[in-house]
C-alpha cells in the first residue's frame, strides 16, 4: 500500500447527496480509530481541513452524479484511486434526486428557480457507475455503517469484498416480525428489496419503501400483481416503486414497461 508508514490511503468524496452517508462514516468513530494505525485518512473534507492529493488506495464516494462538474470529478477520482467504492443509494443507483429523471427537466427547473438559465445541472441524476468503473457498491439510504465497515475491512485485508443481498423478507423473518403485507394488507417492497437496514420499516409496523435498493434478481412484476390484488391502482403501484431507489436498473426497466402497458 502506498501511504506513509505503509498505511492505506483512504479518501472520502461527496457528490449530490444529503451528507447522511458521511455521517455514517463519522459515526464509525471508535471503529475507525481502531484501524487508524492501518489507515491514513488522506481526504475527508467534512471531517478535516487537512487534505492531501492522490493517489489513493481506496476512494469512498457518497452521492450521485448530477452536475457537469461531478461528471468530470468522478473521472479524476477514478484516475487517482486504486479501488473505488460507491457508498449509499445515491452513488449506487442515482438516489432520491433521480426522481426528477422521470420528468421534463425544463419544467422541473422552472418549478424551483425563477432564473432557470443560471443553474448548472445535468438533466439526470445518475449512479457513479454510469460514468466510471466502480469496484464495489454498498447501497442504503443511509448506508448501514456496519455493512460499510465490513466491506472496508475486507478491502483493507486485500480480499474481494462481499456482502449479502438477499431479499428484505429474509431479514424480516429472521427478526421474527409479523408480515405487514399478510397481516395488515400493507403494500411492502420487502420482497424485491435488499436486506441490510435491519428490516426497520416492518419492525415499525409499516411496509418497506425501498431505500436500500433492489435485491439480487428481483421480481417486480410478481410484486406488482400482488399489489393489484391488494386493491392498488396501477398509478399507485408505479408511484411506490418509483421512490428512493426507483432509478435502479431492474426497477426502472420494469416501470418503463409497466407504465406503457
Amino acid at each position: 500500500m502506498s501511504g506513509e508508514d505503509g498505511k492505506v490511503r483512504l479518501a472520502v468524496f461527496k457528490l449530490s447527496s444529503c451528507s447522511g452517508c458521511q455521517q455514517q462514516i463519522l459515526d464509525l468513530g471508535e471503529d475507525l480509530l481502531a484501524v487508524a494505525d492501518k489507515v491514513e485518512i488522506a481526504y475527508f473534507l467534512e471531517a478535516s481541513s487537512k487534505t492531501s492529493p492522490g493517489p489513493y488506495d481506496v476512494a469512498l464516494i457518497e452521492g450521485s452524479v448530477s452536475t457537469p462538474h461531478e461528471a468530470e470529478l468522478v473521472k479524476k477520482i477514478r484516475e487517482d484511486s486504486r479501488i473505488v467504492v460507491a457508498v449509499g443509494t445515491c452513488a449506487t443507483y442515482g438516489g432520491i434526486q433521480a426522481l426528477r429523471n422521470w420528468r421534463n427537466f425544463d419544467e422541473v427547473l422552472a418549478q424551483v428557480y425563477p432564473k432557470a438559465e443560471w443553474i448548472k445541472s445535468l438533466e439526470k441524476s445518475s449512479p457513479v457507475s454510469d460514468y466510471i468503473q466502480v469496484d464495489y457498491a454498498v447501497s442504503g439510504c443511509p448506508v448501514n455503517k456496519l455493512q460499510l465497515l465490513s466491506v472496508l475491512k475486507q478491502v483493507l485485508t486485500g480480499r474481494r469484498p462481499y456482502h449479502r443481498r438477499e431479499s428484505l423478507c429474509q431479514e424480516c423473518k429472521r427478526k421474527g416480525n409479523v408480515c405487514v403485507m399478510v397481516a395488515q394488507g400493507a403494500p411492502c417492497l420487502g420482497p424485491i428489496m435488499t436486506e441490510g437496514c435491519g428490516a426497520l420499516c416492518p419492525s415499525y409496523g409499516r411496509g418497506c419503501y425501498g431505500c436500500f435498493g433492489p435485491m439480487i434478481d428481483p421480481k417486480p412484476e410478481a410484486l406488482a400483481s400482488r399489489f393489484e390484488e391488494l386493491g392498488l391502482t396501477k398509478d399507485e403501484i408505479a408511484l411506490r416503486l418509483r421512490s428512493v431507489s426507483g432509478w435502479a436498473e431492474p426497477v426502472r426497466r420494469f416501470l418503463m414497461r409497466y407504465e406503457r402497458e
Binding site: S16, G20, D27, E30, S48, V112, G198
Partner: protein, 432 residues
C-alpha cells in the same frame, strides 16, 4: 497587515462544514470590498419532484434533504400536513416527537461544536488532532452524541432518515420501557453535558460586539423546538404561516441563488444564537446556573459565541429528554388520522441550525400540487457575508494565513448545512 494593502483570500472548498461551498474575500486599499460565499452544492429539485406524490410521503422524502437534521424535515412536513387536514396531535405523542427532536439537536450540535468548530478556537485542523491533547473532551462529546442518536434510534429505528414517524404521530406505539436505556444513562450524560459546556465557556472566543438581527420561534412556556410564533429582536412577532410575507426572496443578477432577507432589506440570523438570545428566559435553570457562574450573560454579542449557544442547548436538550421520558405515558393510539381534503398550510420548526419552513398545497386526493421549503442555512447566507465585513478589523490585522482561518471560522460559526440549502447554488454579494 498594513492598512493600504490589497489582496485576496480564496477558500476553494470549505472544510468541516456539511456540503460543498467556498468563500472569496477581496481586500482593496486596506478595506474589504467584496465578499462571496460560493455554494456549489448541486441543486436536487425536491420542490419539483414532490409534486404528484402523496401527502403521506412528504416526511420521508424531504428527510433526504439533510442527513444531519432529517428529523427536522420529518417534523416540519408532518406538522404542515396535519394543519391542512385539521389533525390535532395529543401531548403524549408530541412528547415522543420532542424526545427524538432533542436527540437530533444533541447529535447535530455536538458534531458541530466539538468536532468541527472547537478545533478552530484551539488551532487544530481536525477533531482527531485535537483528541491527542483534549482526549476527555472528545470522548465525552462522542458519548453525548451517541446518546442523542440513541433517542432518535429508539423512536425512529435509525438516527439518519428515521422510519418511525408519520403524519399524525408515530407508526407504532412506544412502550414506556423502550425508553429505559435513556433514563439509565441520563445522570452520566448530564454530567458529561455539563463538562462540555464548561469546556466551551473556557475557549478563547472573540468578545467583539456588533449589530445582529436574530430571528427564531418564540416559545410560550417551553424553549421552542416543535412550534411557536416567529419573533426577532426588532420587536416583530407573527404566526408561522406569515414567514414568507415577512421576508424577501431574491435571485439577483449578481447571484445565482435564492436568498432571504427581512422585508425591510436587512440580513437576519437564524439558529442557536437567535433562539438563545430570544428565549433565554425559557432555557433550563441548570443551564443558566453554569452560564452565569462562568460570567456569561445573554445576549450573545457575535456569531463566534454561537458555539456557547450550541453547548448550552445541548445540555438543555439532555435535561429535556430526561424530563420528557419521565413524563411519558403511552398514548391511546400511535397516530391520528383524518379524512383527506384539499388545502394549504405552512409550518415552521426549529431545526438544529434554525427555522425550517415547509409550505404545501394538496388536492382532494391528497396529492401534493405545490411545495416550498426554506432551510435555515439559506436564510443565513446574507448574514454570513455581512459578518465578514463586520469582523474586517479582526481579519485585516492578521497575516494572510491567519486571516484566511478567521474567514473560514466566520462561516463555520453558522454551522452551515450546505446540503440543506437546496435553493442556493451560487451566491455573490458585491458592495460598492
Amino acid at each position: 497587515m498594513s492598512g493600504n494593502k490589497s489582496f485576496e483570500i480564496r477558500v476553494h472548498q470549505l472544510a468541516r462544514v456539511e456540503g460543498e461551498g467556498g468563500v472569496w474575500v477581496k481586500v482593496k486599499d486596506g478595506k474589504i470590498d467584496y465578499v462571496e460565499v460560493n455554494i456549489f452544492e448541486p441543486p436536487r429539485f425536491f420542490e419539483a419532484f414532490l409534486r404528484g406524490r402523496s401527502y403521506l410521503e412528504a416526511p420521508d422524502l424531504t428527510a433526504r434533504i439533510c442527513g444531519i437534521c432529517p428529523l427536522a424535515y420529518v417534523m416540519a412536513a408532518s406538522r404542515a400536513m396535519e394543519k391542512i387536514l385539521g389533525i390535532q396531535v395529543p401531548d403524549e405523542i408530541n412528547v415522543l416527537r420532542k424526545i427524538a427532536f432533542h436527540g437530533e439537536w444533541i447529535e447535530s450540535h455536538v458534531l458541530h461544536f466539538a468536532f468541527l468548530h472547537a478545533p478552530d478556537f484551539l488551532g487544530y485542523p481536525s477533531a482527531l488532532d485535537m483528541a491527542r491533547e483534549h482526549p476527555d473532551f472528545v470522548k465525552d462529546a462522542m458519548a453525548v452524541r451517541s446518546w442523542g442518536n440513541m433517542a432518535i434510534e429508539i423512536l425512529g429505528g435509525r438516527p439518519v432518515h428515521p422510519v418511525g414517524f408519520r403524519v399524525g404521530g408515530l407508526h407504532r406505539k412506544i412502550r414506556k420501557e423502550e425508553l429505559e436505556p435513556l433514563s439509565r444513562s441520563f445522570d452520566e450524560i448530564r454530567r458529561k453535558g455539563e463538562k462540555l459546556l464548561r469546556f466551551v465557556l473556557d475557549l478563547p472566543i472573540p468578545e467583539i460586539e456588533y449589530d445582529m438581527v436574530v430571528m427564531s420561534l418564540k416559545g410560550d412556556k417551553e424553549y421552542p423546538i416543535l412550534e411557536g410564533a416567529v419573533a426577532n429582536n426588532l420587536g416583530w412577532k407573527f404566526p408561522e404561516d406569515e414567514l414568507k410575507g415577512n421576508i424577501e426572496t431574491e435571485q439577483k443578477i449578481y447571484s445565482n441563488a435564492l436568498h432571504y432577507r427581512l422585508r425591510n432589506g436587512r440580513a437576519y440570523i437564524t439558529g442557536p444564537i437567535a433562539r438563545f438570545n430570544l428565549n433565554y428566559d425559557l432555557i433550563s435553570p441548570e443551564v443558566k446556573d453554569i452560564l452565569e457562574g462562568a460570567g456569561c450573560k445573554p445576549p450573545l454579542k457575535n456569531t463566534y459565541q454561537s458555539i456557547i449557544a450550541r453547548a448550552a442547548e445541548t445540555l438543555h436538550s439532555i435535561l429535556e429528554i430526561g424530563r420528557l421520558v419521565e413524563e411519558y405515558s403511552e398514548p391511546a393510539q400511535p397516530y391520528i388520522e383524518a379524512p383527506v381534503k384539499a388545502g394549504e398550510a405552512a409550518a415552521v420548526v426549529e431545526a438544529p441550525r434554525g427555522m425550517l419552513y415547509h409550505h404545501y398545497r394538496i388536492d382532494e386526493a391528497g396529492k401534493i400540487v405545490y411545495a416550498d421549503i426554506i432551510p435555515p442555512t439559506a436564510q443565513n447566507y446574507a448574514a454570513m457575508e455581512e459578518d465578514i465585513l463586520k469582523v474586517g478589523d479582526l481579519i485585516l490585522k492578521e497575516p494572510q494565513e491567519k486571516a484566511q482561518q478567521i474567514v473560514e471560522t466566520t462561516i463555520r460559526n453558522y454551522d452551515p448545512c450546505i446540503s440543506c440549502s437546496v435553493h442556493a447554488i451560487r451566491l455573490k454579494v458585491i458592495r460598492e
